[in-house]
């Protein structure tokens, strides 16, 4: 049972983003301002201070680490700087151009 690639990634793949706080490198895709996919790896998971703090707090219990606010800021910044292209906006440009 091999899992296939997400058809949406064929249109627009993930792009690397460096967190301004801990320098963790994650891969990001945004189809709109409000939609975000974040792919972490082991190195990034170990580097993220907010995640580590959250894990220490829950300690085997149930607890939810929804997101890292500093990483979110870094992603927003990467979008503003054009490092991450929002798929919806790119599509609009394609249609206009």
């Amino acid at each position: 049972m091999t899992v296939r690639p997400d058809n949406r990634l064929l249109d627009a793949p993930l792009a690397p983003v460096v967190c301004g706080r801990c320098r963790a490198v994650v891969e990001v895709r945004k189809s709109s301002w409000a939609q975000t996919s974040v792919q972490w790896n082991a190195e990034a998971m170990a580097a993220c201070a907010q995640r580590r703090q959250a894990m220490d707090l829950v300690d085997h219990g149930r607890g939810l680490f929804l997101s890292c606010s500093e990483l979110r800021d870094s992603i927003d910044d990467a979008v503003r700087r054009g490092k991450v292209v929002i798929v919806d906006e790119r599509d609009v440009q394609d249609h206009c151009g």
């Binding site: 049972m1 091999t2 899992v3 296939r4 690639p5 997400d6 058809n7 949406r8 189809s31 709109s32 301002w33 409000a34 939609q35 975000t36 996919s37 974040v38 792919q39 972490w40 790896n41 082991a42 990034a44 998971m45 995640r51 085997h60 219990g61 149930r62 939810l64 680490f65 929804l66 997101s67 798929v87 919806d88």
Partner: protein, 381 residues
């Protein structure tokens, strides 16, 4: 493997259902039912199991068929610390060893059957399934549910049913925001998935559906907050809060299953409700039962879809769908040997849906349904 044919038609592709069963803890049911001192038959993992509480108080799970001449141990009797086969009275201990054969001077060598690692916790019995035969690692244990053993909460309201499809269908629900509107009458307002290690989480908030009938006498529901995680391949704990006009109601909803075979599974859910000043003993239990009826309806709605849908390995997704492929990548870790678990199956992945467009579309749909009902021209769509 091209999903598009020459004519431009997208083809549905689906491989065979997996031939092995997921590695992980599976809840078999409540100890108050399974631990009554009688043997119980459980069909799981393509096998027949016997569950029995032995004289020493321990709940045991063994392969159901006697290694002597194949008698069904679950039709036998508990005698002391052993289960006695109904065919020739061979006695099997919870460790899987044959302890005695009353009509024989000695037990033959290698008289051992499969015994499953068990966990009794929070009123439930779990078994560890591992095709490789390794013991359960501490890091994947089922977390405790505080309310389950507390006087401040009700007892479990439990429900069990058999569903005739492969259990991947129910796993897919973790990422399927839109079906909560179309199938379950919810109004999702926020939706995010997180997969990390052996845990897959769905965080969702919902508003209320003004177009759907409210049960008579029920308080006005403003919405719900749901923080639901699968701990391994089959056991989901949902911290589910109902926001009513006058107060919040804390509940825990379990959604768990175990496979019978590749094409059927036993679906179970359990509900406990936190008691409060407005919701003392009996009223809290009544609430748990009422919520249970509501959840039962929800699962029946799912089952109707599953019965009629086809298995699909290459779903065609729009941007407002959840991460189906990444969820299946996470789920795959339970179907391969531990040595073959790859980083991408367990690395953290987050996916937050943009709910702007769905909310607009669904609000409009709700208004149309209300208008249609007011005009008396048909049933809501």
């Amino acid at each position: 493997m091209a999903a598009i044919s020459d004519s431009g038609v997208r083809q549905i592709e689906a491989g065979a259902t997996p031939t092995r069963f997921a590695r992980g803890w599976h809840c078999l049911g409540l100890t108050r039912d399974l631990g009554d001192g009688k043997p119980h038959t459980i069909n799981a993992f393509g096998m027949r199991l016997v569950v029995f509480r032995s004289g020493d108080g321990k709940l045991n799970v063994l392969d159901g068929y006697c290694r002597h001449l194949g008698g069904d141990l679950s039709q036998g009797q508990v005698k002391g610390n052993e289960i006695a086969c109904p065919f020739h009275d061979w006695r099997w201990g919870g460790d899987g060893k044959c302890k005695s054969i009353p009509y024989s001077r000695r037990v033959p060598k290698l008289a051992r059957t499969k015994a499953w690692p068990t966990l009794e916790q929070d009123g439930m019995l779990f078994v560890w399934n591992d095709p490789e035969g390794n013991p359960p690692p501490e890091s994947v244990t089922i977390p405790r549910i505080e309310g389950a053993t507390s006087d401040g909460w009700t007892d479990w309201h439990w429900y069990t049913t058999v569903v005739h499809t492969n259990c991947r269908e129910i796993i897919d629900n973790v990422v399927d925001m839109a079906h909560f509107f179309y199938i379950h009458g919810s109004m999702p307002t926020y939706f995010k998935n997180i997969f990390e290690g052996h845990v897959a989480t769905q965080y969702m908030t919902s508003g209320s559906r003004a177009d759907l009938p409210v049960p008579e006498g029920a308080p006005k529901l403003l919405g719900t907050t749901s923080d639901a995680s699968y701990w391994g391949p089959s056991f989901m704990i949902d911290d589910l809060v109902y926001h009513y006009e006058h107060e919040d109601q804390q509940t825990i909803l379990l959604n768990c299953h175990y496979p019978i075979d590749a094409n059927s599974f036993v679906l179970q859910y359990g509900i406990i409700v936190k008691k409060s000043e407005n919701l003392p003993e009996d009223l809290a239990m009544q609430t748990a039962i009422a919520l249970g009826d509501f959840v039962k309806l929800g699962f029946e709605q799912d089952v109707t879809i599953w019965k009629n849908k086809t298995r699909i390995d290459n779903p065609l997704l729009c941007e407002e769908d959840g991460p189906v492929y990444q969820l299946r990548r996470w789920y795959e870790q339970f179907y391969v040997d531990v040595a073959d678990v790859t980083p991408e199956m367990v690395d953290r992945f987050e996916f937050e849906i943009d709910v702007t467009r769905p909310r607009e579309a669904w609000q409009q749909q709700v208004e149309e349904n209300i208008a249609r009902r007011a005009a008396g021209t048909g049933t809501p769509g």
